[in-house]
């Protein structure tokens, strides 16, 4: 019940949420001359590095689907949104402490606006994927029309859930931010960003390895994005299915943690 009230309140204040998202983007783009380029330079450079290392140095055969660079860019961009979203939402309340203390808005808004701003940056970086698909002569399939929007919704819900939990806990536990950074780096390699899910079946002789990997919702989300360009993916659908269930669970868990900690957090800010 309480969660529904909160949801309704947030919907009523959606214009303020939009305002905050625009503010974040404005700050980001007005404080640097390169502006938009910064959004894509980092993931592009990282993609180039992985492409060189795994495509040419190791000459890995079982890396993913061809063309590998398209496969990589999709994964790295999606991970970039996840990574930046989680890191920034962890600091969300502390960073805006003054505003949180002086405006009576549903406090969830400070987390959601970061998810939103990072999401807009992600969508703005999608043309880059299109460019690579054109260069590599890999036209998008009709799947893209529903795969990409669904994946974006799932990722928004996932980052919101994780962000709500971390943002409130980080105010009470001082060094959480550092732990989050380390965990994210580990997660990057455990998530099928550089490789494909079906390769794990070959690499590990463990029954149900794909189901274990699917517990990490980013596995399913990245796979959904990739279906837009690679209809020939061999990843089973249950990766997406399990991922979406876990995503919803994480969201409700995060929202209830946020509510539980809210009074203590407000005293501490």
């Amino acid at each position: 019940m309480l969660m529904l009230d909160r949801g309704r309140e947030l919907v009523e204040r959606r214009s303020i949420l939009r305002l905050l998202v625009v503010r974040d983007l404005k700050v980001r783009y007005s404080s640097s001359a390169l502006g938009y380029l910064w959004t894509i330079i980092d993931p592009l450079m990282m993609s180039a590095v992985y492409w060189l290392v795994f495509g040419f140095v190791f000459k890995a055969k079982d890396r993913g689907l061809d063309p590998y660079i398209v496969f990589l860019v999709i994964g790295v961009l999606a991970w970039q949104w996840f990574n930046a979203g989680v890191v920034d939402t962890t600091r969300a309340l502390q960073q805006e402490a003054k505003l949180v203390r002086s405006t009576n808005l549903p406090r969830e808004i400070w987390v959601l606006k970061i998810v939103g701003a990072k999401g807009v940056e992600f969508v703005l970086s999608l043309p880059v994927v299109g460019l690579f698909m054109v260069i590599q002569d890999r036209p998008p399939t009709w799947n893209a029309l529903w795969c990409v929007p669904l994946a974006i919704v799932m990722q928004t819900v996932l980052i919101s859930g994780i962000g709500l939990a971390l943002a409130s806990m980080a105010v009470l536990v001082t060094d959480l931010t550092r732990v989050v950074r380390i965990l994210l780096r580990v997660m990057f390699y455990l998530t099928p960003v550089l490789y494909s899910v079906h390769i794990l079946e070959k690499a590990f002789d463990v029954d149900g390895i794909t189901k274990i990997v699917a517990l990490n919702p980013m596995a399913g989300i990245i796979d959904l994005y990739r279906r837009a360009a690679f209809p020939d993916t061999q990843t089973p659908w249950h990766v997406v299915g399990i991922g979406s269930v876990v995503t919803v669970v994480i969201f409700f868990l995060g929202a209830s943690i946020f509510r539980r900690l809210e009074p203590a957090v407000l005293k501490e800010l």
Partner: protein, 263 residues
Amino acid sequence: MTVQSSTQASGGAQDVRPVIEARDLGIEFIRNRKRRLSLREMLFTGRSSSPQGTFWALKGVSFDVRPGEAVGLIGANGCGKSTLLRLIAGVMLPDTGSVEVRQGVAPLIELTGGFLGDLTARDNIYLTAGLHGLSREQVEERFDEIVDFAEVRDRLDTPFRHYSSGMQVRLGFAVVTTLDEPIILVDEVLAVGDRAFRQKCYKRMEELIGHGRTLLFVSHSENDLKRFCNRGIYLRHGEVVADGDLEASFKAYVKDSDKGSQK
């Protein structure tokens, strides 16, 4: 004073519903302000290494405020005045009791909190006014009024961080006082700014009260309190000691603090 008569006309009738209803409000703080745990403490001992101990910043506070009343909160430093204001503004949540606020609130608390150093004053005005619920058109309507009041017209496109601290507060005051909210919470903000601006603030405040807004006012200045408020609530150690006519409440406070200083 036409202000007074209109206030009493609306507040005098007993059946007018209070706009603020505080019932048994209480909030508990950790004494040494170190609630935060480091991860090491959490893993190995499960509790903070600093000594435990809490205190109630507010305890059993109950009162009603009717529309149009101007209430001064009086008390020594740390008696819970600002905390009470925050609870009413909804930016802190009580541990016991409840506070019901039936109309919109314009909080003059941390005036410059909404401003971002990297953006220009123009952008900042739109953003902060928007955060407090004004639509873009409403801000456009009031834009000139805000700018003139804050006297920043020649620096509208300067990044906010290049403003002097006085100018920053001026802009904050100008934005928040143009809000239409019927309840105004003021926390010591009149103490800043130069003399000329302070006069302007006083005038603006008197206008607002004249329009029948409800005011909750925290200040240590006897003059300010007497100027704006007709009712005083005296808090001591988080409890209401006196609530009534401003003069009477203030006298109780003065008596207490004189007693304290003689010890």
